[in-house]
């Protein structure tokens, strides 16, 4: 182990953790998942990922996060790629780098808690590709991580539980150290504890203090720092964490690091080196090769605290609702709502609940049309409020709204509050349901996606059967606007490296259909697309 410069996916989890503990220096994880989610509305296409994969693999990152958060759902809905297929391709293209996934504890990759057997199946199936499981609970309610954590252990993978970090009343070192104790007591010491600073909060000094406090209590604990550069100062926080003993930090490709995602890799490396920290196994040239240009910064995050990933999607939602010109109102309302709702961490699914509540409040009046998810939060479906409870009038307004039994809010709380025991999913019945829709046997992976996202997974499976591996199409084709000109050539390589050409010969538009003629790999084909009148 003495001569080893980097870990590999083939090493057992324990050996990897030992390597981290005993190798001097700091390790970097490239978090494309968060870059894509924070800065590109999850739209970094697989072709782009695969194009730079060899450089990233050669760069010697400790890990590469490509799965989790909103990506599973968005892969199905907007990118039309099976997340398992994506992981398989990434694994193949980056054989030397540990693949990391982010999971929302009991909420997995979705927005509500899932039954234990769905969690176990999901972790087991994704563990075929995922080496490091970074997981969190949005209320830092650690028991919510237990089932998924056990599944990670059973799969022999690395467990990286997170402490969601925020600022304000209650967010003290004592609180977080007590949470770290809870993590270790429930999940054991063979972990990497991640400080999840999803909203780029706190100063470098605050982060230094936090890491110092945790390390004081647990001197041998491996600590990772996951931050966002939303305010432009994550480099400072990251360096502060490292100086206090964090071994692992998360970065974006230098050129990608932008407004809402991680600090740029090259700047991080330069700073580390300047401060005398080694970066074992890291190679600068391929790290640079993987980069390209991107955007700027957003200091207002200090107030609204929305994480990068949620911010870009929230803005898209506001745009669709025609509320972009009132966005400042929604952000102001968000700040109020967060304070009223216990100053909790603004991270999924909390960020969605807070944002949609703020948006609804602006459109419909304050708490006039509360969502079921907000009711669930007040009823303690996700766990307890860690610092303080919302004021009584909110309970009253939200919980009594729509009740036909005339029960008052305190009666409702007395009778219905608390975490709900979820009965196991009837996987056989769900498989039957899926197979009767797709009219063929379903794979375990398809079932896993279906139980979490029934409609979108089904739509995706049908899409994939119809169009195949559309991730092969270059992004400029995927996002193409307007018709293709006659003679246009679409050229790309398949997974096996073989070149294919789709040459557009002609387009014939009639009242209700469009006939497109191609040479597909020099073979003539005609496709007729029927278009409904309201779609033209």
């Amino acid at each position: 182990m003495a001569n080893r410069q980097r870990v590999t996916p083939q090493m057992p989890a324990g050996e990897i953790l030992d390597f981290l503990r005993h190798t001097p220096g700091v390790f970097l994880t490239n978090n494309e998942r968060d870059v894509s989610q924070s800065d590109f509305k999850c739209r970094i296409m697989p072709q782009t990922t695969l194009k730079v994969a060899p450089y990233r693999d050669s760069a010697g990152y400790f890990g590469f996060e490509i799965l989790g958060g909103a990506t599973v759902h968005l892969d199905l809905m907007k990118k039309q790629i099976n997340p398992f297929e994506k992981l398989r391709l990434v694994r193949k293209a980056m054989p030397n780098t540990l693949i990391q996934g982010l999971c929302r504890g009991r909420n997995l990759f979705g927005y509500r808690p899932y039954p234990d057997n769905v969690i176990e199946m999901t972790v087991r199936l994704f563990s075929k590709y995922i080496d490091i499981w970074r997981m969190y609970d949005f209320l830092n309610y650690i028991p919510n991580l237990v089932v998924a954590a056990k599944a990670v252990r059973d799969a022999g993978k690395i467990l990286m539980p997170c402490l969601c970090f925020s600022t304000g009343a209650g967010h003290t070192d004592d609180f977080y150290v007590q949470k770290a104790e809870e993590v270790i007591s429930l999940l054991g010491e063979d972990i990497i504890l991640c400080i999840k600073n999803h909203s780029a909060l706190g100063s470098p000094a605050r982060i230094a203090e936090l890491v110092r406090a945790i390390r004081k209590r647990f001197p041998d604990l491996l600590i990772a720092y996951h931050g966002h550069n939303t305010d432009g100062n994550d480099l400072g926080r990251l360096m502060a964490a490292v100086q206090e003993g964090a071994k692992l930090v998360e970065v974006a490709d230098h050129g990608y690091g932008g407004i809402y995602s991680q600090a740029p890799a090259l700047s991080v490396v330069q700073n580390l080196h300047e401060y005398g920290f080694k970066t074992p196994g890291l190679h600068i040239a391929p790290l640079l090769d993987a980069s390209s240009h991107f955007q700027g910064f957003d200091p207002t995050v200090k107030r609204h605290k929305l994480p990068g990933g949620a911010l870009s999607l929230a803005l898209e939602q506001a745009e669709k609702a025609g509320l972009m010109e009132r966005a400042h109102e929604v952000f102001s309302e968000l700040i109020e709502v967060r304070k009223e709702l216990g100053n909790i961490w603004v991270v999924t699914p909390g960020s969605q609940i807070l944002w949609s509540t703020a948006l609804g409040n602006v459109i419909n009046g304050r708490y006039e049309k509360p969502s079921d998810d907000l009711k669930g939060l007040l009823l303690g479906r996700y766990g307890r409020f860690p610092f303080y409870e919302p004021p009584q009038w909110i309970f009253e307004k939200v919980l009594e709204r729509g009740r036909t039994d005339g029960k008052k809010w305190d009666e409702i709380l007395a009778g219905e509050a608390g975490l709900q025991e979820l009965a196991d999913e009837d996987l056989k019945a769900r498989r039957f349901q899926l197979e009767s829709q797709i009219k063929r046997p379903a794979t375990d992976e398809e079932l896993c996606l279906f139980v979490q996202f029934p409609r979108d997974a089904l739509d995706f499976i049908k899409f994939e059967e119809r169009f195949g591996q559309t991730w092969l199409l270059p992004p400029d084709v995927w996002f193409h606007k307007g018709g293709f000109r006659d003679g246009a050539r679409i050229s790309f390589a398949d997974e096996a490296g073989k070149t294919h050409n789709i040459d557009l010969i002609s387009t014939r538009r009639t009242a209700d259909s469009v006939q497109t003629s191609f040479l597909v790999d020099y073979q003539f084909q005609t496709h007729t697309t029927k278009i409904a009148k309201n779609e033209k």
């Binding site: 899409f463 597909v520 073979q523």
Partner: protein, 489 residues
Amino acid sequence: MLIFFGKRVKTMFKKLLVANRGEIAIRIMRSAQELGIKTVAIYEETDKTAMHIMRADEAVCIGSGPRRDYLNIERVIQAAQSSQAEAIHPGYGFLAENPAFAKQCTEAGLVFVGPPPEVIIDMGSKVIARRVMSEAGIPVIPGTRVLPPGEEGKEMASAFAEVHRFPIMVKAVAGGGGRGIRVAQNMSELTRFIEIGRSEAKMAFGNDEVYLEKGLNNPRHIEVQILADGHGNVIHLGTRNCSIQRRHQKMIEMAPAFLPQDVSNKICDTAVRAARASNYLSAGTVEFLLDQDDNYYFLEVNTRIQVEHTVTEMITGLDIVREQILVATGLPLSISQNELCFRGTSIELRITAEDPKSNFMPNPGLIEIYQSPGGHGVRIDGAVYQGYEIPRYYDSMLCKLTVYAYTWQEAVDRLRRCLDGFLIAGVKTTIPYYKQIVADPDFINRNFDTSYIETHPQLLDYQEEVPPMGKLAGLVAEINAYEFNPYSE
């Protein structure tokens, strides 16, 4: 005058009309053209885009079709006369085993490439054929003469069933190629099938006579290719195993039949004796059924070139159609039994535009993409091309894939490679079904008999494959149609 093996022989005819369509017409034209003979194709108006027309030197439209004109003896002979063809090759199917056609060709002064009409008559009648073979000492499956109509027929059937027990096959006297056969498992089925068999035979062959044969349990279908000339030479070209059948229609054929040497020798000698007993001329096939103990029984003689003749050509190197033409000219066979040698293994598949999952229903339509495999040991006898619209009126054969290899395992490997090498879009084909077969352990271990397809229903458990790039083009077409990607918003 033709110089043949250093001897001066009869004048070879200069022009041959091929009274058929599809792959067999093209296959016959190839041999004729190698002999320097011009070829004439015939076609019906409904078949005017067929590939055999393109491969011929001349073509004659014989009517509006569909199907009836290919079966119209007068029109075919007229086409030969108007194109000044001197000979007619009937191929298989259509008029190939119609003795009236052979007779009228001869009467019109045309050379019929095949056996004389009296042989076709005798062998075409299954009952006469069985009698001829029986008299020559060749084992035949116990059977009846033609069943008389009415009660007398029922009594004969009942008595036969009592002696030989079920299963019993009801066969049309004029049937063949798997048509006109029903298998009864009990007396009530037998009574019903006799009635149905009669009316079907009347409609299909114009002859309602049926007879009974004892059915064997899961027999193997073995056949021997024979060649006979007008100089007294009769040779066999070895065995074929055609056991893999669906409803008595052959699907996969192979040569040799992989029988114990003594059984193989006996069957081949018997086939030659059968040919001699029937005064055979030209190419023909003597078919047998083998029971589980390798006892063999005469089944029938096919008086034509057969679909599966290619496997025999592959292991012998002989061009059977060329031999047919030479024999028709009056020449002796170009090879003797002793000169003939057999080498390796050959397997042939009939690739059709049918949907196996819909009970092999024909799936006519436009062939959008057609690419076939090639390389060492691969023979494609095809009749389609990219852009060809398969008409719904004719058989659904796209091509025959025949592979040759030194060993059985190598041939199976080659078959698999070739099936993967096909790229056909636009119509459903039997290729995915054949892919299942070549991956099936029973097939790989040559563990099959005539019940194979029936006892392997899992072969239908496959997913349809659409060429991946064609699927992607479908999405590009949608982006083009909507002027944005409707799946990315």
